[in-house]
């Protein structure tokens, strides 16, 4: 077993999103019998914890790693250290300044723009909206906000503020409750992290405002999909984490084997985000169940 080369996939936090990515790495692992594939989740979503994992991986002998850096802009040094000893991919969030071979993942600004379009469609006459997120210090949250603001620029939709909850679900829900209290005329609520949308959904239903307040979300939490089916939620922008996992591992193996032809000029392999709304939600649900089954 020591002879096998090690490929690793390092996430930025513990989340369901990554469970789907794990399925992708598992699929790739089956196709690559010569490699040992590791899937690593930091105990805490911090650069320090990721750095420790990377150091330990290098110490343990490593052929390639795909990582979602918690803090891309400032992780150049450690990423370059890794890149000097192994194949380095970034996934989910990119670190363009680093010597990574390529990026496999979402364009979060584009995803934000998609959400912004959904908002504009749901609120043709404009109105006030509030955004909800775990923390604002992750790049993906900032980029999504940026995309949304870009899309709604010029329309009558106005972002009041962003409420953070530190990934405390209770707080996430009470933030929504308090927003509904404070702004009775609120027109739309947007959940930026996967769990935010279900909490919005529950709070809006409990307040008896289902349908009156438009909800737009990100990611594919089951409750989000349910909300879309019953019409309470307008739609959600989903990424394809399965592809992150599958493609990263597969392409790293390919790269190690000497094939570099698949790398695009801009070194970005954008896995497109999709809008799920009432029209395609049933189909998507079936697909998700399928994927998460084993």
């Amino acid at each position: 077993a020591q002879q096998k080369k090690t490929l690793a996939f390092v996430t930025n936090a513990a989340a369901d999103f990554w469970t789907i990515a794990r399925r992708g790495t598992e699929k790739a692992a089956k196709e690559l019998p010569d490699f040992e594939v590791k899937f690593l989740v930091p105990s805490e979503s911090t650069p320090a914890d990721q750095k420790r994992i990377l150091d330990d991986l290098l110490a343990g002998g490593l052929a390639g790693v795909a990582i979602s850096p918690v803090n891309p802009a400032n992780s150049t040094e450690i990423l370059n250290k890794v890149a000097s000893q192994a194949v380095l991919f970034t996934t989910d969030s990119d670190a363009p300044q680093s010597n990574r071979v390529m990026y496999v993942g979402t364009d979060n600004v584009a995803a934000g723009v998609q959400a912004g379009e959904l908002i504009k469609k749901a609120l043709p006459n404009g109105g006030k909206i509030m955004l909800f997120v775990g923390t604002m210090d992750n790049a993906n949250a900032r980029e999504r906000v940026e995309g949304i603001k870009k899309a709604i620029a010029g329309s009558k939709v106005e972002v009041i503020d962003v409420r953070t909850d530190n990934i405390d679900f209770v707080r996430a829900k009470s933030n929504v409750e308090d927003t509904l209290t404070k702004y009775p005329d609120i027109a739309g609520l947007v959940g930026l992290y996967s769990y935010n949308t279900p909490q919005i959904y529950e709070a809006v239903k409990a307040a008896g405002k289902a349908g009156k307040v438009k909800i737009i979300g990100f990611d594919e939490d089951q409750a989000t999909l349910r909300g879309i089916s019953d019409g309470t939620i307008e739609g959600t922008v989903v990424q394809q984490p399965f592809e992150f996992g599958y493609q990263s591992i597969r392409l790293m193996a390919k790269y190690i084997a000497g094939d570099k032809s698949f790398i695009p000029a801009n070194k970005l392999m954008i896995v497109p985000t999709k809008i799920i709304d009432k029209s395609n939600v049933a189909e998507f649900q079936t697909m998700m169940k399928e994927m998460l089954r084993k």
Binding site: A13, A14, A15, D16, W18, T19, V41, S43, M136, D161, V162, R163, T164, D165, N166, I167, D168, F169, V170, R171, A172, K173, S174, N175, E177, D178, T179, L180, T181, K182, P184, S194, Y195, P198, Q199, E202, A207, D221, Q222, A223, R226
Partner: protein
């Protein structure tokens, strides 16, 4: 109601009045109901924490218990389709069992409560994360089976959230236990002077272990309430820092970490104060990033004010004493 609780009530009323003046929606029915709901949620486990603090101990693993018991509960109910009364019973028992382990390690193995429950904090969270492979668990599509329980925990009667009603019931029971029963007296005695309690024939070990078990039971109960509030549990973050909220509520409510002091009414009021503070951050439009800072400031101000009050009271008593010693002096002064 002691002087301490009275002070807290006044503080809550003043803050409430100020907030209501700035934003009248603070006292709108819907906001009060929301607050009552959260007060119920947090109050339940804060009472358990308070009991442990009165023994002179501390319970740091409550948040992690929520994660572990939460995922086990969802697993039982949703994945395994076990009837809700059984699942509920299992979780309550689980909470008691964890409390019993803490009690055992503290009283029999003579380990410090801080260390034992710190290990609990780490182990239970790790176990929850391993159990679910770090995936968030939720009701998925199978929430229907637990409709009754969902109503019991997240529903309302006459507009009052059931969490709040549960808190009132639990607080009433625990108030009698703590302030009127033999067990409560023992708890205070052990908290103040464990050795003297032993020399009076009190089985201090059992008294202490029972406090951790009651705290575990209430943590189990809260775990279920919280699951129905959030509808899902993400094992790596669910309940993070909740033990600190509980400790803060208990301390604001007059429990001393040295043991032997505190009351149920105080703990409940401490919880209310903290929840009012959280609510007003949102209602006054204070940035969420400042929430922690405001909370810390409120706690600090609360304990400082309490200290001042206490000093004044002691001075007043001393004055009375001095007067009593000179009965000839004018009483009108």
């Amino acid at each position: 109601m002691g002087k301490k609780e009275l002070g807290l009530v006044l503080l809550i009323l003043v803050i409430g009045a100020v907030t209501a003046t700035i934003n009248p929606r603070f006292i709108s029915a819907v906001n009060l109901v929301n607050m009552a709901n959260l007060i119920g949620l947090y109050g339940l486990f804060s009472i358990g924490e308070g009991l442990v603090i009165i023994t002179g101990g501390i319970e740091l693993s409550i948040g992690s218990m929520f994660a572990l018991l939460g995922v086990v509960f969802l697993d039982l109910l949703v994945e395994r389709g076990i009837p809700w009364p059984v699942a509920l019973g299992a979780i309550l028992l689980g909470g008691v069992a964890l409390g019993a382990i803490h009690g055992f390690l503290i009283t029999r193995m003579k380990l410090q409560p801080f260390v034992v429950t710190l290990c609990g904090l780490l182990i239970y969270r790790g176990a929850a994360r391993y159990y679910t492979n770090d995936a968030t668990m939720g009701f998925g599509y199978g929430n229907e089976g637990s409709g009754t329980l969902a109503w019991l925990t997240a529903g309302r009667s006459f507009g009052v959230p059931h969490t709040f009603i549960a808190l009132l019931i639990v607080a009433a029971i625990m108030a009698v236990v703590l302030h009127k029963s033999v067990y409560g007296r023992y708890l205070y005695a052990v908290g103040k002077n464990e050795e003297a309690a032993r020399f009076s024939g009190i089985n201090a070990d059992r008294v202490i272990a029972a406090a951790y078990m009651i705290s575990g039971l209430l943590a189990g109960l809260s775990a279920v309430f919280i699951v129905f509030y959030t509808n899902s549990v993400s094992p790596s973050s669910h309940g993070n820092f909740y033990e600190l909220y509980a400790i803060a509520a208990a301390v604001l409510g007059g429990c001393s970490l040295r043991g032997g002091e505190g009351s149920i009414l105080g703990i409940v009021h401490g919880t209310i104060l903290l929840q009012v503070q959280q609510n007003l951050v949102n209602l006054l439009g204070i940035p969420s990033s400042l929430n922690f800072a405001v909370m810390g400031t409120v706690i600090l101000a609360g304990v400082l004010a309490d200290r001042e009050l206490q000093k004044r009271r002691m001075a007043a008593v001393a004055n009375m004493g001095a007067k009593a010693a000179r009965p000839a002096a004018a009483v009108a002064a």
